[in-house]
Amino acid sequence: MDILSILRGLGGLFLDPVTLIYVFIGSQAGILFGMMPGLTTTTALSLLTGLTFSLAPEKAIAVILGAYVGSVTGGSRSAILINIPGTPAQAAVCLDGYPLALQGKAAQAIGLSVTASTLGTLIGFISLALFTPILGALALRFGTWEFFWLAVFGVVIAGSLCAPKDPVKGWIAGFLGLLLNTVGDDGIHGVPRFTFGYNQFSGGFSLIPVLIGAYGVPEVLNAVRKRERMIIQTMVDRVIPRFREVLQHRWIILRSSFIGIIIGIVPGVGSDTAAWLSYFTAKRGSKHPEQFGKGSVEGLIAAETGDNACIGGDIIPTLTLAIPGSAPAAVLLAAMTIHNLRPGPMLVAEQPQVVGQIIAISMVSTVAVFVLSLLWVRQMVRLLLIPRDVLMPAVFIICVTGAYALSGRLFDIYIMFAFGLVGILMQELDYPVGPFVLGFILGPMAEDNLRRGLVITAGDPSPFFTRPIALVLFALLVLSILGPTGVGRRIQSRVVALWSNK
């Protein structure tokens, strides 16, 4: 894939006004979803994947990518205006966005956050264009053994990073996802597993109902459970920020973008981590750290940029390795698979034009979101006035529509609701949902590659530990397990002690 593929993708997009319209529709839908408290990016993408199932692949991907960028950017609106993050990633934006709004600078805060989001997203997508061919070429050296370790490593590292205080719970969530994925006919011999004679289970649990259930249903039921009233009186003045103001914070934008991209590449870790890390890095490097949390423009820009740059980073491993960088990227992966675009090293090597098209759509989506975010600000804010008790059942019906639309089975709606209850239980017991979903997605990859690898070697597991890349991945896996535990800390202190004695 080269720059020509992207340019060709851009050219193709501008010559196809229908796809361009779909980009704008997806972007606007994403902004709406993002700004509604309680509706996450993953929910938005899961719903749209179901609804766009019958569209042509490039149009469906245009809607989904537009919604991805839109929802991440849109979440800052409610964070700034009512101190409730539209998506979890915007929690860091609340810290300075809301105090700025209270100081009468709501318009400035919205304008700056949208601009920072746009720049962060664009930098993220430039990195996507740069890194995808490199990682794609490396991934071509991967065999079945390496892909097995990669899947397991993805789940474990997601567990460690999504539950930093208690990584064991993150791993448990991942294992649960991997385990539940085995329900249904076995992929190699076609033997039914854990179906208990019930035919509906033989196809296993479809990914989209599981995703909508795990992310969407808990949001709906939790919003009804919580009783909270808000009255918003707002008047928004000049929204478009001044160029000088943006230029003044160029280093924060670049640094936060870098953080966002790196966090995005790590499997399973979402944009919320990127936003917080960017925020704290900006605070540490600021000349006025005391202003953070009281309406610091630096804090607002850092959180927004890191959050959005993560999108590009998220998509890199999704396209090159078929390992999603985050839950929304996992939905993107599922959407691409549904439309017969199989992400992975072969996609990059054999269909560079598809990758170019995806990058082109992403870039146009960024511009679309920028334009749409600065238009109709006042009207959009009014949507926040809809009572949650009315909004949430409407969202639930959209969830039902999304789960049902894919295969037209009532069973999928029941699965969605069951996984919704599982999601609530996990939240209440402090188990992260991210690794669970990632385990669910990477389950087939882990299982198929483990068994295929053993078939090739007639049951000899040594290639899993002797092939160079497999060995590196295995070592990384061991380190990521030992690192957060007491054993890891003891080894670390022993090494430090030995080193200092020398």
Partner: protein, 179 residues
């Protein structure tokens, strides 16, 4: 200018209390997960390891069994930690009223919303999708309303009309046949 007024939280907004409740939660969660892992492990063991069609390493149950063991092992660790923490703290901390805890969490509203959703799901396929959906929004909007009945009904009717319009559009554009 912008001003935002938030009322005091009544229920459902309390942060989860730490200390012995967290340990108790860990223990209960571990028991649930352990049950799941044992269930899957037993079911996986019923799939033969050797068969004319496969060897042990391609057995359809091998991966599920490994995952069930990993899940069970980690759950045991969390359960043991939770139990130990609970036993250590049970004499030092004041026993919390579980009834009050459930009220603060918003259990009443939660159970009511789950019950309404279950009825809705049972109705799907028996009554037209649009009708059931309108009913769901109206019931939610009025049952969990703030203030007078009419104050809840008006936005619920608007939302119901929008959702029906949206679903109809989706049905026509994408050719989805709703139950």
């Amino acid at each position: 200018m912008l001003s935002t007024e938030k009322t005091q939280p009544e229920e459902g907004l309390a942060p989860p209390p730490e200390t012995e409740r967290s340990h108790g939660r860990d223990f209960i969660g571990a028991i649930l997960l352990l049950t799941v892992s044992v269930f899957f492990a037993v079911a996986a063991l019923q799939i033969p390891f050797q068969n004319p069609e496969w060897k042990w390493y391609t057995s359809p149950g091998i991966f599920a069994l490994s995952m069930a063991i990993c899940l069970g092992g980690c759950s045991l660790a969390v359960g043991y930690r939770g139990l130990r923490g609970w036993l250590r703290r049970r004499h030092t901390s004041r026993p919390a009223s579980w009834r009050e805890g459930l009220r603060v969490w918003g259990m009443g509203r939660f159970l009511a919303s789950v019950a309404i959703v279950v009825v809705y799901l049972l109705l799907l396929g028996r009554v037209p999708f649009m009708l059931a959906s309108v009913g769901l929004i109206l019931v939610f909007g009025t049952a969990f309303r703030e203030g007078r009945f009419l104050d809840g009904l008006r936005p619920a009717v608007i939302a119901a009309v929008i959702v029906v319009g949206f679903s109809y559009t989706i049905m026509k554009i994408f050719g989805i046949v709703f139950p």
